[in-house]
Amino acid sequence: MSTTNPPMPEIQLEPGALRHLAEAQVNVELDTGDMILNLGPQHPATHGTLRLVVRLDGERVISADPVIGYMHRGYEKLTEYRTYPQVTTLINRIDWLSSFANEVPFVDAAERLMDVEAPPRAQYIRTILTELSRIATFYLFLGEMALQVGALTPAFYSFRDREYVLNLIEAATGGRFHPNFNRIGGLKDDLPWGWISEARAAMAKILDGCDEFEDLVVGNEIFQARTRSIGIVGGELGAAYGMSGSNLRASGVDWDLRRDGRPYLVYPELDFKVWTHTDGDSYARYWVRLQETRESARMVLQALDQIPSGPIRAKVPLIIKVPAGEAWSETENPLGQMGYYVFSKGATGPFRVKIRSASFSNVSILPWLLRGAYVPDVITILASLYFILGDIDR
């Protein structure tokens, strides 16, 4: 090529001028009406069947109205027609990524009503499996949020490394997810031989993988430009909306039910750090979850060192009748605070179960949060809040 372009003229612009140019209206006389855009219920970016009706002025969102219910399966009515063990089978499909963690608060409530305590080995195994499901969920998030922002490679890494954790869960419980492993009074079975050393090897791989994500995604300039200062939520407003879990901790609220709530499982005996971030933007939510993944891997290693031997189920009758009463049991699930308010009248099944799911409240902040955002930022914010439709719609 022999042609050379003439040199570009030097244009001096103040730093703020580019932003003004981007926001300038095209032509004052071109008065356009608002456009209503329907995102979903089938859309690669909505993580399930969420429909978001946004009203746009050009690229800016004026108002957003999430329409949910496309995955409403009527859980609270179904629990009234099932016995306690049958309910355990059903509820691990609420948050379908961290299935084991959904069963724990319900079984905990039923055990407290029956005044039965699971033996220590069962509590340790429950803790380990809960943390493994937390790692599985967060690992998917780490790859999938990067995918929403535009990077394809981290998604493959996350699916590859997730297989190690799913192998462990499958070896112990028989199911990759939806394990249905909890029983009232303990667990169904003991761990297979050799599981503990496999788990240690898998956790080492997870910790390496987290370092990879730290380099590949968190340190990436494009990722930072797309997520910093996007979707800022203040801690007080988030709590008033009922936002919980990593979302609230990313807004600076230092609250973790594993440490601060009623003591459950073996968390009082483990030594772990609760990660918070002050910014409250999408980057903070990603960063907090990455640190929590590492922390969960370390907690699993600690629990594997401390696990006692012994029985894995307390003595309970064959037909389980839970005495009358009500119990509220809440846990720090991967998506946030999950709780079950169980009303019992002494029958073999519950009278009413109120399921408090984390994503329901996390998503209720969207009408407030999305006002004034640009359309690509809507995708980033949805990805960073990390909801599961089964958890919203129950």
Binding site: Q42, G48, R73, Y81, A155, R160
Partner: protein, 179 residues
């Protein structure tokens, strides 16, 4: 073109041509991403996971719109609120199209068989070719379902009238008195 509609390709004389057409069709299925619930995670593991890797079978999950797809895998619970959307998207896919129902929720309602808001099986709305049972089915089970579908595609129009029926979007009768 009309060769298929006119029944030319079902004649025994052009069997190698039909075989070649089916061979190339079965190894270039464009799958529409229709993940609804938990089964979608297993479907994603089958697609994106290096261990199961559906793309080596020729199934590519990235059509830009339903109008460019020819396979839809319904994975997850179908609710009454979602059913019209499924029907509308299914109608947008051009013929010949195939449907795999993955998981027990879309096979028959699954664990929510008594719910007031769940459609008991996606075959109440759209015709299904392959049912993959499980809750959720392992990624290998989905791969087996796809291989079964590919075997079905290979045999279309060879000794039966399925090829023309599929091209024109007519319902396929399975079994029957002369099977």
């Amino acid at each position: 073109m009309g060769l298929v509609e006119r029944g030319v390709l079902s004649k025994p004389a052009v069997k190698p041509l039909t075989w070649l057409l089916n061979y190339s069709r079965k190894y270039s299925l464009w799958m529409f991403q229709w993940g609804l619930a938990c089964c979608a995670i297993e479907m994603a593991a089958a697609l994106a996971g290096p261990r199961y890797d559906m793309m080596r079978l020729g199934v590519i999950p990235f059509p830009a719109s339903p109008r460019q797809a020819d396979l839809v895998v319904v994975s997850g619970t179908v609710t009454d609120k979602m059913a019209p959307a499924i029907k509308r998207l299914y109608e947008q896919i051009p013929d010949p199209k195939y449907v795999i129902s993955m998981g027990s929720c879309s096979n028959c309602g699954g664990p929510y068989w008594d719910s007031y808001s769940v459609t008991k099986g996606v075959d109440q709305i759209i015709p299904v070719d392959v049912y993959v049972p499980g809750c959720p089915p392992r990624p290998e089970a989905l791969l087996e379902g796809i291989v079964m579908l590919q075997a079905r595609i290979q045999n279309e129009g060879i000794g039966n009238t399925e090829l023309a029926a599929r091209w024109q979007g007519e319902p396929i009768t399975v079994g029957g008195a002369d099977a």
